[in-house]
């Protein structure tokens, strides 16, 4: 249940951000992360962003995923 997915912020309105997960959009609360900005990657759990990833951290995640796929 502690599943959390990385998602990109595509719209920002105060404490609420619209995120995109593989193209699917959803509004989440971003009040728990420091200075969320458009284009940031956040880790989302139960409707809340709980951490922010920078570009290099996102790239690391993609690399690990690609290494695992056949």
């Amino acid at each position: 249940m502690c599943l959390a997915v990385p998602a990109k912020i595509v719209e920002l309105r105060g404490e609420t951000a619209t995120i995109s997960v593989d193209g699917a959009l959803r509004d989440v609360n971003v009040s728990l992360v420091d200075e969320p900005r458009l284009g940031d990657y956040v880790l989302v759990h139960a409707g809340f962003a709980i951490a922010k990833w920078d570009e290099s951290e996102y790239a690391e995640w993609r690399a690990i995923q690609e290494a695992a796929s056949p």
Partner: protein
């Protein structure tokens, strides 16, 4: 992956004896099974599954209380999906819903608050289960309900916290643990510092790993390195999400709304200071107080060994009900219900291997 597997095999030889690592978190359990990662490990390195599935460790008396609430005509019960199929003493929320009760599955506690706003004449109760990862979302929602005076919203809280549960497992001499793969997303909130007492007082290595198979393999390699060097430290593999101090804003939110409390874990019993109770200041949003919920002693199914599975004292196939009377379609205990439950994972991915 193969390179990591090779490294693990070499380090395991240096360790020179059998070791048993516990993946505490249910999401790790599922990731390990789905990827077939166990098959990449040498025979001397065993993974055992821990109590980190919130639905699985929720006591039967909590389910019974939620069922009792759902039978009240003015109440709408809202919950994360997995919980509705968990059998209580006599029924489940799913069965109550089929019989006409208002039970709604939500993705976020904020969805439950929105439902309360839309239905001012109903009492909307959110079932607050989950660990440190989930507690901030619920705390935020309670504060928001308080700020905006949504008087018909409340939470039946059974949140739990990891450190004292992990300590209870270490004190339980039945299960040998040579290292913890610590829960990744709990650690995003708490920070790596939370596990230091385990390495310092118990000398058990801890590695916080991410959820991709490559992350978990690397985490296992790091635990083996610690064993080979006779070290016990808290190390972070999941550096893209976890730091030393964690999400401080989330920690503050938890501390403002909740206070430490003793909590009952299915199969383990009451663990002191391992739960979160809603503070008196927010009593108006505490369903237990506001709606007078009584927690009665519950009777779990006599044959169900979920408790032993959660402590890693047995593996699912050692339970007589596993795969015969108890299946995902007709589950007896929560470990078979939750998609992250150890029994569900065994059933789905390794029945042939395990049999």
């Amino acid at each position: 992956m193969n390179q990591l597997a090779g490294q693990i095999a070499a380090t395991a030889q240096r360790v020179g004896r059998s070791v048993q690592f516990m993946e505490v978190c249910g999401t790790h359990t599922m990731a390990a099974f789905r990827s077939g990662l166990r098959q990449l490990l040498p025979a001397t390195v065993k993974l055992i599954s821990g109590p980190g599935c919130p639905v699985c460790v929720t006591d039967t008396n909590f389910i019974d209380a939620a069922i009792e609430l759902s039978r009240r005509p003015e109440v709408t019960v809202t919950t994360f999906g997995d919980l509705i199929r968990v059998p209580g003493s006599e029924s489940s929320l799913e069965r109550e819903r089929a019989a006409g009760a208002q039970v709604r599955v939500v993705y976020s506690p904020t969805d439950a608050l929105a439902l309360a706003r839309e239905n001012p004449r109903r009492q909307v109760v959110f079932l607050g289960v989950g660990f440190e990862t989930t507690a901030p979302a619920v705390a935020w929602t309670i504060q928001e309900a308080s700020r905006s005076n949504v008087g018909n919203f409340s939470v039946l809280a059974a949140h739990k916290t990891m450190p004292h549960a992990m300590e209870a497992l270490l004190k339980d001499q039945q299960v040998k643990i040579d290292g913890f793969i610590c829960p990744g997303h709990v650690s995003v909130v708490t920070g790596a510092k939370m596990y230091r007492f385990i390495t310092e007082q118990y000398r058990i290595p801890c590695v916080i790993a991410g959820f991709e198979p490559g992350d978990m393999l690397k985490g296992i390699a790091m635990l083996l390195e610690q064993q080979a060097a006779a070290r016990a430290e808290v190390e972070v593999e999941y550096t893209r999400s976890v730091n030393e101090s964690g999400n401080v804003a989330a920690q503050q939110l938890i501390a403002e709304v909740f206070e430490e409390a003793d909590a009952g874990w299915r199969g383990i019993g009451v663990i002191p200071r391992s739960g979160l109770a809603i503070r008196e200041k927010y009593a108006a949003f505490d369903a237990a107080k506001k709606l007078g919920v009584v927690f009665r002693e519950a009777k779990p199914h006599p044959g169900c060994r979920c408790g032993d599975v959660l402590r890693a004292a047995i593996t699912p196939p050692e339970c007589k009900l596993f795969g015969t009377a108890c299946t995902p379609v007709n589950p007896f205990g929560p470990c078979m219900v939750s998609s992250e439950g150890t029994c569900a994972a065994y059933y789905k991915y390794s029945r042939q291997v395990a049999a």
